[in-house]
């Protein structure tokens, strides 16, 4: 029973840690906000704009005086969320540098090999590196 209680406390602790650090969302969760909040405005003003090259968000910005308040607010949120996730992904190599040297000796760089090694080595990997991997959406 004592063992159980310790377990539960650990789980709660882990949950609160991961909640505190869950500051990025995936690309799907970001872009679906745009579809939900701006769907009508896209249909009215950006019908032929492309999802590529930020075409939709650029078109909405051009039409900001004509689109709904909610869409105007959320288009900026979506841009911020995508940028945050991309930034988190580009941080991983730097933050996990030491962990890679320590736990992934002999693993060839590139093609995701290092990251797969870090995922396998999760129990040994530093908390900072594990957090960076979570923020990048790599797990």
């Amino acid at each position: 029973m004592k063992y159980l209680r310790v377990c539960a406390t650990t789980v709660v602790l882990m949950m609160s840690v991961s909640l505190a650090s869950a500051q990025t969302v995936g690309f799907a969760d970001a872009i679906k906000i745009l579809a939900a909040s701006c769907g009508n405005d896209i249909q009215a003003h950006c019908q032929s704009a492309s999802l590529a090259n930020n075409g939709i968000t650029n078109c909405l910005e051009k039409n900001q005086s004509r689109i709904s308040q909610k869409c105007n607010a959320d288009r900026l949120v979506v841009i911020g969320l995508i940028e945050a996730r991309l930034a988190a992904q580009s941080e991983v190599a730097k933050i996990c540098n030491r962990d890679m040297a320590q736990y992934c000796k002999g693993v060839k760089p590139g093609a995701g090999h290092m990251l797969r090694c870090l995922l396998k080595a999760q129990p040994s990997v530093s908390a900072k590196c594990n957090e960076a991997i979570d923020l990048a959406g790599y797990r």
């Binding site: 063992y3 745009l34 492309s50 999802l51 090259n53 995922l119 797990r139």
Partner: protein
């Protein structure tokens, strides 16, 4: 015993939650699980596949393709996943209803599980309309998906190749006009 009981309750709760979700919603991990585990690199180039489809239309004209593409069997053996992406009528513009699906592909392709592997993004249509038109439209649509992935969602471009097969590779050849034939297929060609 107490411990065992607790953990089985937890598992049951998790199982029912995912069960409810998987019926309606596509997830990133569903895409990953279907695509990962590629064996050695496969020697089919996107150009070769595209050419095969164009030649199929030229060599065997008619309302419907009389035969499968020569590369079909080889492609069928690879890790792959079929997605439904909605485009505006007669156009290669991705509809807002499918933004999330494109985002899920990006989420999946960015993970270490799929990084470093080469993927074909293959567009397919149903058999309504001419084969030439369908081939052209499917190429544009596959390119639209690839472009969104490599620009807005910054998936590394060197691993992604767009191919359009029109109606040359129907998913359900006995129902050529069925909606099930309209799809975007991701195929894992393995590590370089």
């Amino acid at each position: 015993m107490n411990k065992l009981f607790l953990s089985s309750v937890a598992i049951a709760v998790i199982a029912s939650a995912t069960g409810a979700l998987s019926q309606t919603k596509l997830s990133r991990n569903e895409i990953i699980n279907s695509l990962q585990g590629a064996q050695q690199e496969v020697n089919i180039s996107a150009d070769e596949l595209q050419k095969a489809a164009i030649e199929n239309v030229e060599k065997y004209p008619g309302a419907n393709s009389p035969q499968q593409l020569p590369l079909a069997a080889k492609l069928a053996s690879l890790r792959q996943f079929n997605l439904e992406i909605t485009f505006h009528f007669d156009s290669a513009t991705i509809a807002p209803a499918s933004y999330e699906t494109v985002g899920l592909i990006a989420d999946a392709l960015h993970t270490p599980y799929l990084q470093g592997q080469t993927f074909f993004i293959v567009g397919h249509t149903d058999a309504k309309g001419t084969r030439e038109y369908n081939l052209e439209l499917s190429i544009k649509r596959a390119e639209a998906v690839r472009d969104a992935l490599v620009t807005t969602f910054q998936v590394p471009a060197e691993y992604l190749f767009a191919v359009g097969l029109g109606e040359e590779q129907l998913r359900d050849p006995s129902n050529p006009d069925a909606a099930v034939n309209r799809r975007v297929q991701l195929i894992n060609l393995g590590y370089k």
